[in-house]
Amino acid sequence: MSLSLLTELEPLKDTLPVVEMRHVTISFDGPPVLEDVSFRVAPHETRILLGPAGVGKSVLLKLINGLVKPDKGEVLLFGDLISGMPEENLFPLRARTGMVFQEGALFDSLSVRDNVGYQLIEEKKLTDEEIDAKVRESLSFVELEETFSLFPSSLSGGMRRRVAIARALINQPELLLYDSPTGGLDPVTSTNIISLIVKQRDVRSTPSLLVTHRLQDAFMMCTHRFDAGKGEMVPLPKGVTDPNTTFMMLDEGQLIFDGSLHQLLHTDNTFVKEFIE
């Protein structure tokens, strides 16, 4: 598909950002991992964070739900300033977000059922039968119902990522954070994972931030949509891109690009050009 002449559909409008970072700097016993980073994630928006390995993409995701604290700057989640918030107050906010970790981070001593239903089990608001039903629903979303009673050790890498996505989705989060969900997977499995993320974006319109260093995944998300009738991901018409899917790029701890696919492809920034090529 030619990506030189792209048309953006009308974006969904809403004002208050779900996530906002203002001049955030963080370091770990050395030079800053992130320096003066500012951006927003609007409701219904999917932001794709690109960059080579080791530039602080995962750290940026962890800053968003308060897993690490910035040295300078402010992080706002659902309008609440979380950068100085005590750990105890963060748990209710984190419960409203879903996070998919780089390697899945499934609890290896728990079954798939207990992994996916972990949040519901800990909340103790539902009966076991209701939790089972929710877990099955979430697993059917990622097409892994048959793994209900299995343990993570018996799953393949791709299946683990899909179970991790099911776990992140079970409580219908208001924000989704994907940390390299396709990293280390074969192309077919990667496409399946991206298809699930596109499905979540288009069916439930959940705002999300996806970290990746794989351009093909990023472009696929922008140029495809989920067809509910067919039950699969289909390409958008030639030259059309998803208006709510935008890009950011990190290099050496700094945000060097923030914009649409069209802007990404026509930027003057040398590093971005090299990265894309």
Partner: protein, 259 residues
């Protein structure tokens, strides 16, 4: 250069002590604020307590047996082999029962806590737990601390009991002395202050074992090699702290109840 290294090391030690103090205090206080994970407490009590019974029982029995062997040999020089029971029971209950049980449980459980939590840290399971809205300190650390304190108390009683039985076995079957005399001397020699001293110690030792094991586990960095390092640090630190705490508690208890 040497001064800079010293300066950095000193700061590192102070920071570690500060981190440990905050960690240990928060873990302890979590019991008084909901949610409290009682089911995890019971599971950990089973793993730590029931799982350690065999090693505590054996080490207690043979320690008592060795004490009886050694003391009988020395006491016979003074014609006082009859007080072997008193010697064994006092030594076991005041000192060795608690310290040996503490060190045995530390070797088994501080290492297991450090490696289990350390593995969870390096595979991002702890971060995943936090991201799911669950406090790992409440869910993983607090139940382990209270389970270890509770179970070490009972394990010490088991070690003391089997230590005295071990001494009795040696006295009766190897030294061919009167068993009744052994037990009556063991009983008569004991006072409240001895029992109190022996049963206060495991409360502190249990706290040391679990808090140190969990602390090093939760602070793990550097992948699988880091897990191994944390495990070693947890066992070494908790074992040394048990001996140090034993000295301090004994000193305080003896000043409260002089012999």
């Amino acid at each position: 250069m040497a001064i800079q290294t010293l300066d950095r090391t000193a700061k590192q030690i102070v920071l570690t002590v500060q981190d440990y103090s905050i960690f240990a205090w928060r873990s302890l206080m979590n019991l008084f604020r909901p949610p409290v994970y009682w089911s995890d407490f019971l599971i950990q009590s089973d793993i730590i307590g029931v799982g350690s019974v065999s090693i505590v029982l054996l080490s207690g029995f043979f320690t008592g047996a060795v004490l009886a062997l050694q003391s009988a040999a020395t006491l016979s020089a003074f014609g006082a082999t009859g007080i072997t029971g008193r010697f064994v029971s006092l030594t076991m209950i005041r000192e060795l029962g608690a310290v040996l049980t503490g060190i045995m449980v530390s070797g088994r459980n501080a290492s297991s806590m450090a490696s289990e939590l350390g593995s969870m840290v390096v595979t991002e399971q702890i971060d995943a737990m936090r991201a799911l809205g669950v406090d790992p300190l409440r869910k993983l650390v607090t139940p382990r601390i209270y389970a270890t304190i509770t179970m070490l108390f009972f394990l010490t009683i088991v070690a003391n009991t089997f230590g005295i039985l071990g001494g009795a076995a040696v006295t009766v079957f190897l030294n061919h002395q009167n068993g009744m005399q052994y037990f009556s001397m063991a009983w008569e020699g004991l006072h409240f202050r001895d029992v109190a001293q022996g049963l206060v110690k495991p409360l502190f030792f249990g706290y040391i074992i679990a808090s140190i094991g969990c602390f090093y586990g939760m602070k793990t960095t550097g992948g699988t090699q880091g897990v191994g390092r944390s495990t070693i640090q947890a066992v070494v630190t908790s074992s040394v702290l048990i001996i140090v705490a034993d000295f301090l508690i004994t000193h305080v208890m003896l000043s409260l109840w002089p012999a």
